[in-house]
Subunit: 190 residues, 2 copies
DNA sequence: GGCATTTTGGACCGCACAGTCCAATCCACG
DNA sequence: CGTGGATTGGACTGTGCGGTCCAAAATGCC
């Protein structure tokens, strides 16, 4: 891929963000290139110009964008889980975020839908979870040096993913609220 | 819908089960009517004969079938969580089951993919979760009469769903193992 | 056995949608 | 300015797939 002029880069960006939003709102299965074209005021040729391998190529960029978003949304807390107060601020931020987005959930769209077919997307997802896991495990170590940090991080992330999945499936936020709260609680009492 | 002769009922059943298996293996998005036709040695007209409203109609039957399966797999333990030994047997059964099916997961296919578009399928799913929740809450009450049974059941089911989702996404069983084990553990120490 | 109904086969239709192509325009740089 | 590459518009193509249709075979019923 040759150099991209500022204008080109902006167009590419507009496509990725527009597509990401559509996919979040309607699910990957219900979003066609024409929808993306319409929502981003671009033309077919632009999509294929910036994503030579077509839709799969673009979905890869969307996945990377969304994976970044999932972690970015949790900052600055996620990188600094060094006190119980920070842990609680993080938990509240996560819950508030998911309560707000409700079913438009980048995490669920990524994990449960985008990653299914394409191994490349799968790689992005596992990478995202690895980074997430590392942050949480670091946090565990700083408040509970004696605990099994890997195990605790696995439990906590599992609770969030379960909560997000149930939120999308049943529109009920309690699975996330209770699951995450209890996971942190059990860490405190370890 | 008029009466169905035994032969007709058998064909209908064959279609539902064949479709369910294909969907479990390849995901709803990657299964077409022709695949189902081929896998069940039926013809297009049979599918539309037994499911007049077409694919959506058939997916509804598949969803009901799979929802039944998810709960049936957990029996006889799920209906009789009256001692810690039963709880542990149930936990082991659930983990073994998911470890065996790995990514071919009826629960995830239902929750994260089938239910997205069709409100009728969504109803089946919420009904399934309601039944599941009731069983688990009953179990909690019988071993921990003092605990908040609704809250505990929510936590436990959330952990399983999270574990199943992560199993599909990353092929890692530990999210389920650890999540479910710790959720039950925290119930014991409540 | 004969009539009605259900069941089955498979050709056919139409559309949605990813992907192609080429000509028109914009822009950087000499 | 003028030239070449980047960018854009949009018509067009091919096809995969859900859905329709009708006629033939099997089955149930009296």
């Amino acid at each position: 891929m040759r150099a991209l002029t500022p204008k080109g880069a902006a167009t590419r960006q507009r496509i990725v963000e527009g597509a990401a939003k559509l996919i979040r709102d309607h699910g990957p299965a219900n979003v066609g290139l024409d929808d993306i074209r319409a929502a981003t005021t671009t033309s077919k040729s632009q999509i294929f110009h910036y994503f030579p391998d077509g839709k799969a190529d673009m979905l890869l960029a969307v996945a990377a964008h969304e994976a970044e978003l999932v972690l970015a949304e949790q900052e600055p807390y996620l990188s600094d889980l060094t006190s119980w107060a920070q842990w609680e601020a993080w938990r509240d931020r996560v819950i508030a975020r998911y309560a707000a987005q409700r079913r438009r959930c980048p995490l669920s769209a990524l994990t449960a839908q985008l990653g299914l077919a394409d191994p490349a997307v799968e790689g992005i997802i596992t990478g995202m979870y690895a980074r997430w896991h590392r942050h949480v495990a670091d946090g565990v170590r700083s408040v509970r040096p004696d605990a099994d940090a890997e195990r605790a991080a696995t439990q906590i992330i599992g609770a969030i993913v379960g909560g997000a999945t149930m939120l999308v499936a049943t529109d009920d936020i309690r699975y996330l609220e209770i699951g995450l709260t209890e996971a942190i609680e059990s860490l405190k009492n370890a």
